[in-house]
Symmetry: C2
Subunit: 800 residues, 2 copies
Amino acid sequence: MAHLPTRSFQAYQVFAANTNVGKTILSTGLVRAAAALSIGADKKKTKAFYVKPVQTGYPVDCDARHVKTYAPLVETSRLYAYPDPVSPHIATSEPPPDTEVLQATINSIRTFKQSLGQTDKGWALLETAGGVNSPIMSGELQSKFYRPLRLPTVLIGDSHLGGISTTLTSYESLHQYGYDIPALMLFDNKSRNHQFLERYLAKAENRPLIHVLPSPPEKLADLKADAEQLHEYYRKTEDYFKDVVQELDKAHHSRLDRLEELADKARTSIWWPFTQHQTVKEVTVIDSAYGDIMTTYVDPKEKAATGANGNQEGTWKEMFDGCASWWTQGLGHGSPALTQSAAYASGRYGHVMFPECAHEPAVKLAETLLDTVGQDWASRVFFSDNGSTAIEVALKMALKASQDRYANLGQATGRVEVIGVDGGYHGDTIGAMNACSPNAYNAQVTWYKSHGHWFSPPTVLFKDSQFQIMIPAEMTNSKEPMKITTDNLSSVFTKPAANDPRLEIYRSHIRETLTRLTQQEKRSFGAVLMEPVLMGAGGMIWVDPAFQRCLVEEVRAFKGFGTETSPSKNAHVPVKNNWKGLPVVFDEVFSGCWRLGRKSAADMLQVTPDIAAYAKLLTGGLITLATTLTTDAVFNNFLSETKTDALLHGHSYTAHPIGCAVANTSLRTYRQMESHGDADQARQDWGAQPYGNLGVWSLWDQKVVDKISRMDIVEGVVPLGSVLAIQMRETNGPSGYASLLSQQVQRRLREKEHEDSEMEVAVFGRPLGNVVYMIASQVSTREQLAKVENILLRTLEGKL
Amino acid sequence: MAHLPTRSFQAYQVFAANTNVGKTILSTGLVRAAAALSIGADKKKTKAFYVKPVQTGYPVDCDARHVKTYAPLVETSRLYAYPDPVSPHIATSEPPPDTEVLQATINSIRTFKQSLGQTDKGWALLETAGGVNSPIMSGELQSKFYRPLRLPTVLIGDSHLGGISTTLTSYESLHQYGYDIPALMLFDNKSRNHQFLERYLAKAENRPLIHVLPSPPEKLADLKADAEQLHEYYRKTEDYFKDVVQELDKAHHSRLDRLEELADKARTSIWWPFTQHQTVKEVTVIDSAYGDIMTTYVDPKEKAATGANGNQEGTWKEMFDGCASWWTQGLGHGSPALTQSAAYASGRYGHVMFPECAHEPAVKLAETLLDTVGQDWASRVFFSDNGSTAIEVALKMALKASQDRYANLGQATGRVEVIGVDGGYHGDTIGAMNACSPNAYNAQVTWYKSHGHWFSPPTVLFKDSQFQIMIPAEMTNSKEPMKITTDNLSSVFTKPAANDPRLEIYRSHIRETLTRLTQQEKRSFGAVLMEPVLMGAGGMIWVDPAFQRCLVEEVRAFKGFGTETSPSKNAHVPVKNNWKGLPVVFDEVFSGCWRLGRKSAADMLQVTPDIAAYAKLLTGGLITLATTLTTDAVFNNFLSETKTDALLHGHSYTAHPIGCAVANTSLRTYRQMESHGDADQARQDWGAQPYGNLGVWSLWDQKVVDKISRMDIVEGVVPLGSVLAIQMRETNGPSGYASLLSQQVQRRLREKEHEDSEMEVAVFGRPLGNVVYMIASQVSTREQLAKVENILLRTLEGKL
């Protein structure tokens, strides 16, 4: 893909509201005017290009020939042609692949662009076939097919009776696919549709300029006479078309102006999260995004500021979204399916009240969650807005439930605390921070107070083609950490055999610690809180699954928290559903919803929590929404006749229908992908069993990961599901969160420009201390990932 | 408005993808089949009704006559007819008002429904004119015009070449207006569009069943022969149409089944916020919402459970959204403008990365906020997800800035605290809770700790036609509170004259308190935090603006916090922009963005804060998004060469493009409404000056509010902008947040059913202790509010 427009090169696509509304005539007039016109301040002559990617009814019909006939100055191209005058999806039984057709289209425009002299101006027009949502050969709708280019669109309106509707529905469809529509052209006739459209669209945001043109002459039977009258029509209407070209020129430069102002405007008005503004260098200007790709614009000033070559033209850079836009991406940017879910929910409800109310998207989402990530353990869903609030809710659920139990047992407690894992991260609201060990994030917050005990975890890394489990020295009372290795990914997750030395080490360390905390230090605890398997923001720390399993089991068996058979305040809570020891809270904000390949990290641990939080991938990467799931036992603890015994927590937009609808579509898609075996090849490559059996795999290529694991500058790799985290070996400079090594690698990944070669792609990553990570979306293709792997490998090898 | 479908009564609308696609023929076939058919398990005969609300080309064209001719069993109706065979917006120069046309349409169907016998089944079809987005007489698009009914839609597809596009764009438009489309009908012809559509829509959610019908015969010149062949066509195709009617019947009952299951499903799977589940009675099932109205469905079981009459039919209840869906509503539910903004942003970006990035919706929103609510004081915008996170961000900004200043001055501080107002509420995350005085919300939270001093505020209420300012006894060292009255709303906000006794009372009380806190109690403070003007969740407490103004001024003048000229850590911070005393944080989550009539409550106080938080109305009521604005002085405090000096706070979906785009549309609309003088009548009624001058008013009718203020059961009223809060006089039972009086009034407001009379409406309110409040949206019409005022008055008078 490539975004082509620059200051001196404009490209447009023509879409029509219907067939037979004058698309070719108006396209011809436009490109003819562009070729005849000197546009821009310097009055340079413009060279014009017309491409018809798909032509049916050929050679009787040939729009490119029509253009060549009536606009001989224009260079034309026709790419795919079929004799049958029908829709392209019917015209051939052997459709070329979409990627091929799109690449051919891009190449035709690019070739024209490259043919231009240094001082030439170029103007290209792509004429689509049929209407906005007419299919291309493969059956894909043109609206979606051309979306990766996101060319500014000239919409040809329908001037006939009824044409207001087809014009506006086409406009609305293009709009929801994310196109900009600088011009709407239509003929003047007795329906006077243009008058209505002008009035109606005057209220719209980003409204197109409406251009009304004289109707073309009625077709004559005599071909020569017909041609002559058409020549005459184009001559007579030339000024109308020149106006359109001039207006498009204005819109084009205004768009580039806005893009070139954006970085500076952001620098002076925005306070970015987690950003030291004093050290910000290049600001990435994102024009749009589609699938895995973010289309960014590098303006000349920015390029100069970063010391790049002094080319005065802005350039486009298409970047693989390697940080999954802060770990949110699931189904690709600009997903039409998600957009349509969102739009329907917005149209049907907007946002509606939730407490004591029910609406279909929320109830359906609750049921789907209970049937997937909550299967076999959860029965209630609480909605909030982001991972941090979902954890605050989880803490409120757990801590009150525990306190009530202590009270029932007659045990007075002060403020109860959590038991967690050192290096964990649960969000930036202060309650969630207080449930983390002291770290770089919370050190600056005056109200932060560590309310817990944090176990130092044994960790796993893939290094030198082996999975290495490192057990901290303190657990074995030795000077050096203990190392255990295995060469199969899934076996890291297999429950250890009874004679595995880890079990005794972990269990006795946990037991001794719990006894010390409760008996010697007299501390009271109300919850266990952890990110199962992978601690994300703490630095992509892969915790030995066996340790987390032991921690949960030991807490559940520990007698010092009150016995597991104690009834809760409400006698009707069945004991079998009651939590044992302490409520176990899993923070699956990062790991949940198929991030690591399986529906939840709990599923990989083979442990069910009492409470768990989900966000990020929940909505496929579109919009913020979070949920906290729990059991009846925890829920019932808040029941009474008194309002103030309820969980008095809520956010205004709780369970907003857009978020719920989009989450339903996302979960449905993830489940379908799983049952369709989309990851079967990856499973096989990583030695995991096919769908239906336990198994763990990575979406990243096994051979590439293996190679990285053997590099000297690499401490080890974490390859789990869509996550590939590379811990760099810091040889000098600050370590941990303050490390700059990852930042340097990320900068090199970003620098690579795409237009040099079709096989390459720049990669947008985000530094995380000494960790370089790439997170794919759930729908990234192998072809796409191979490009990223290639550039990543070459960067790490120092070849880029 | 009225939703009409019940188990025994079905109603549909027919929309077409274009003109001339067979809409009337297919409508005739459908309604003819319905009349001939016994549908449902009990095989009762069905009576059918056809209505054509708008007919052009009459009487030459008359679709109702066509129906009557070929389906004589069907009752037909034609409402508005015009001779010119053109689009309705051209056919008449004197268009009837939309409300009249819609009401006539509803009445025609309702009259038919009422004519049915107890055991009859009814089936009604509404045929629209032209295509989906064709205009009605006023120029409003039919898609929007008919939306309040949200009838299930039969979409007539376009079978011609190119018809795939017009059919799918029409489908997408209907979908984004929130319509359900159970059936898509089209003719079989050589384009075979139906084959493609079947394949394509198989992937869609809520996909329509596609019905293919034989094409009708070509029109004959001989009228009699033409009629005969049409009769023959309808006879021959009867079974096709019966199939469609049967499938629609299934979809109809499945829809009602789902609605009737929804309450129970919610009861067993959802954990509602702020809800004591043990005392939940009726669950409100929300089918959809539009404008101010939520369309709810009361199923027979629910009605029986609440002791209502034992009617076995479910009923629809249309309710005014009197709690503005938890204070979010600004531009009405299901707003097409907001939907289109959201859909465009989703199609263009999805969500994209924000730190060190720039995208147009976010930058535009930042600039708009700085130009409106942030005008003259703010220069930086930080994005988060909800009011609570926006406050946590504000606190982190303020407290670190203050601590740094103390450190620069060589003053060691422990944990710094906030100065606030008793009764304030700032959200449910624990950091925000800790910035509130102890209350019913935070009492149950084990990690809650009050980090502040809370002033008891003087308050304002409108009682007995006067605005009464009550000054707490502790401020005047007397036994009784002091009362000051005025009879003009705006004058409550006027800066008091120098000899106003309040000034000395407030100032000396504040000064003495600050001195005691800092000198005697040795406490350190880092921020002032308050909801300016109106403390919402704390019970709609209207604080005397003069007091809040004095509090800010005294804090800014107080020397005990470090001098106002002290430089911050970064010497380049201009002193003139530096905060004085302590950073002043305004929580405008509830009061901001025109809620109280003006852009911000700060604007009403005539005080600029150093930091302020906005959410709720920011997105017009569609989706969750929050912002925290601040000054360069506060921002600069986080600048250094060290990453960990930055504000290390962020959420994954920070500045999500959908939220930003929708907020831009909302702010643009609010500003336009203001400059267009939409509230001028309300201003005048409340004695405020027109736009451009200071002034305060209520959207609620002055006479009605006056009447309520004089009721014995009313303690006083707060009429500010869109908010009308009535503090009830609790004669017995618990008071404050635990009070049930408001709940009783709200229940009565909800019970009133709408179908009894067109002039009435049920009102969905939400109890808040002893306060009954109504919050209008910013676009509620006077007519709509008059209905609500009527039922509210009569309820308070005990007449309902």
